[in-house]
Symmetry: C2
Subunit: 408 residues, 2 copies
């Protein structure tokens, strides 16, 4: 893969995820793979996540101290995970005779916004990375972390993807390789839909929808950034040599099927409040406070009859306790609150929807034919989502996969 | 304890060791203790070690990658341990309503020499610490780490003690509190010598001898630094409120007993090489290479008879494999190498030795009376050490403890 910057050696930013560096053995494997790439003429720049399990271990300790705290100390705590993985990989490369320099955010000036745990990258000092390359060293960069003033920030779960894309873009690379434990992105979760196929290509827009629909494969903002700066993402397996899925600008996709994938987010819940008197203040207060407490609300519906308004919204299952605390604090005494668990959101995504009508009709008809009740619905230009009972997930996903021609 | 700088609140540097912050519960306990100190009018500056077990976990991973590597990446790896403990303590203090700022070496400019894993502190930017205090925040400083250029260095095992003393000295504090899991320094190891007593005071010089004799209570360089800058060290228990042992300038000790303590280093071994032809080059090469490979040689003896020279030296037991590798590489083919394990070094320490003669005679006579053979001997102005078989340790330690009047 020859990049456009016409250096003697092509610079390629490669990001390895948590499972790829999940043990010392796997770190050795990554080192081996990097050595092969160097021997085949590449000049790699490495970005790492923390060893899998490590971030969770740190979060667990933080929760024991204070489950509600977010801020400077929390971000400094979490950022230690990447410090461990980059140090170990640098050692593994040195052992193989390659000089490697582990680099933390402060060393390459990754400046971010001041929002702890969800910071956005603002700038990166490429001169520093370039000087490491010029010294003949392999830069091994801690993903997920940045700096606001002198304090460490983190970019949110999966943020190392964003670090990698930001570095590729800052260096004018046209490609960023993201190595993970799956070989590609599929038309559906193969554990649910047996006929799911690998996707060779996907547009940025589709990938963003999938990321926001709960696909954990790529960090949402990494795709947003890649789209903005035209950095193609090559998502591929750490454990195999073959190509995976390319995430590219829309015009470059080979074809634009109406629906390119059927995805689902298994861990959601619906919170219903009824009856509500007409009161604009309540809704504003509620959704403001939910967002303040980092509860992400996905679908919101509102209806009313003579008895009053009815509000329903979906949140991720793990956020239910925090959401309920806020709801119960703010709601009128006369309102009842009902939580619906054991539901899942199933979605069809495809840029082709822009040019095709009747997708919604086919979507509803498919679920209706299977007798699957729909509890909430939401759509965008390129996706259609419905919340259904978990027990219907497999049947619904397979039926939609077939209906939209993804089985072939 | 009022310090000499006459601020409204007295600044006290307090260092908590690995066992003091060994779990989330213990970190909560440390936070509680700090809150009490603040409420009693102190302005604490906290220095922490990594949670106990954490540094060993990191070293284990590093050894799996490359047991012989020391350098930049290794130090960055190890420094992550303190990053975790200071973040968690800051969170625990915030939970209690106190603003606390976790600080890494780069944030307060702890500049060191460029010797990785054994760096020496050169300067500290006290303006930064002062500005944190001025902002009403409690500085929670990562011990053990420093910076050379932009790279993280570490100060060697136990280096957090040195960080604490260096900060106290930089801030012109006259006292540095070191909290640990023992209540005081004893006249001997209470597990070995039943009649061992707590020491109220000890001179810097005696403490340095004890540290270099294998006492793990204080980092050698921290005592050296404290002596140089006249910072008294108050060594005390994290788990009790009472006073422990004060380490102070010699003139300030209440009395100067001939021997203030009997200590031992259980994990040593003697390596003997015989016969050696007269060859200055071999000795120079051997001890140069041992030091290059970080093998600390303690006692060296050399003798010769008509068959050739005889060399014996002691190293810590864990260094035997590395030491033997070097010996076998360099020694003449005709020399034999013999390793004596299961030995221990027992020492009597006391500044009073300077003014008393006959200590060596009493020392030898005591062991001789018990029929305990001595394999190597070394002395300094204030200590006398002998290497004996481990099986004689308890008997030798108790006999010396009694002989030098420490039982009362």
């Amino acid at each position: 893969m020859n990049l456009s910057n016409h250096r003697e050696k092509s610079i390629v930013v490669k990001k390895f995820g948590g499972t790829s560096v999940g043990s010392v053995d796997r770190i050795e494997g990554v080192a081996q793979r990097i050595v092969q790439d160097i021997e085949s003429g590449q000049q790699p720049i490495i970005v790492l996540s923390a060893m899998s399990g490590e971030t969770n271990r740190l979060i667990r300790m933080a929760s024991e101290v204070n489950p509600n705290y977010r801020g400077r100390a929390y971000d400094m705590l979490l950022a230690s995970g990447e410090q461990v993985s980059i140090s170990l990989l640098a050692m593994a490369l040195e052992k193989r005779g390659y000089s490697a320099k582990p680099l933390l955010a402060y060393q390459i000036g990754i400046k971010t916004s001041a929002i702890f745990s969800n910071a956005r990258i603002q700038s990166i000092d490429t001169k520093k990375i370039q000087s490491v390359l010029d010294a003949g060293e392999i830069p091994i960069i801690a993903g997920f972390q940045g700096l606001t003033g002198e304090d460490i920030t983190t970019l949110g779960r999966g943020g190392s993807d964003t670090t990698a894309v930001a570095i590729a873009s800052a260096l004018n690379s046209t490609v960023c390789e993201i190595f993970t434990d799956v070989p590609a992105i599929f038309t559906a979760d193969p554990r649910i839909v047996k006929k799911a196929k690998e996707l060779k290509q996907l547009s940025f827009e589709e990938m963003m929808e999938m990321a926001s629909l709960g696909s954990k494969v790529l960090h949402y903002r990494s795709v947003e950034l890649a789209a903005k700066f035209g950095v193609k993402i090559h998502l591929r397996s750490t454990f195999e040599q073959r190509e995976g899925t390319w995430v590219v600008p829309e015009g470059e996709t080979m074809e634009a099927p109406v629906v390119s994938s059927v995805t689902h987010d298994p861990s959601i819940a619906i919170i219903k409040i009824f009856p509500l008197p007409w009161n604009e203040g309540f809704m504003a207060d509620l959704f403001f406070e939910l967002s303040e407490k980092n509860v992400v609300v996905d679908i919101i519906t509102q209806s009313h009859n003579e008895e009053g308004q009815r509000l329903a919204f979906s949140v991720s299952e793990s956020d239910v306790p925090r959401a309920l605390e806020i709801v119960n604090k703010l709601k009128p005494e006369t309102s009842n609150v009902d939580v619906m668990k054991e539901v899942t959101k199933i979605s069809a995504v495809g840029v082709g929807m822009k040019n095709h009508t009747g997708v919604a009709a086919r979507f509803f008809k498919t679920l209706y034919a299977k007798n699957i009740p729909i509890h909430l619905v939401t759509t965008s230009e390129i996706k259609m989502s419905a919340v259904v009972a978990k027990k219907h997930l497999v049947e619904a996903a397979n039926a939609l996969h077939t209906e939209f021609g993804l089985d072939q």
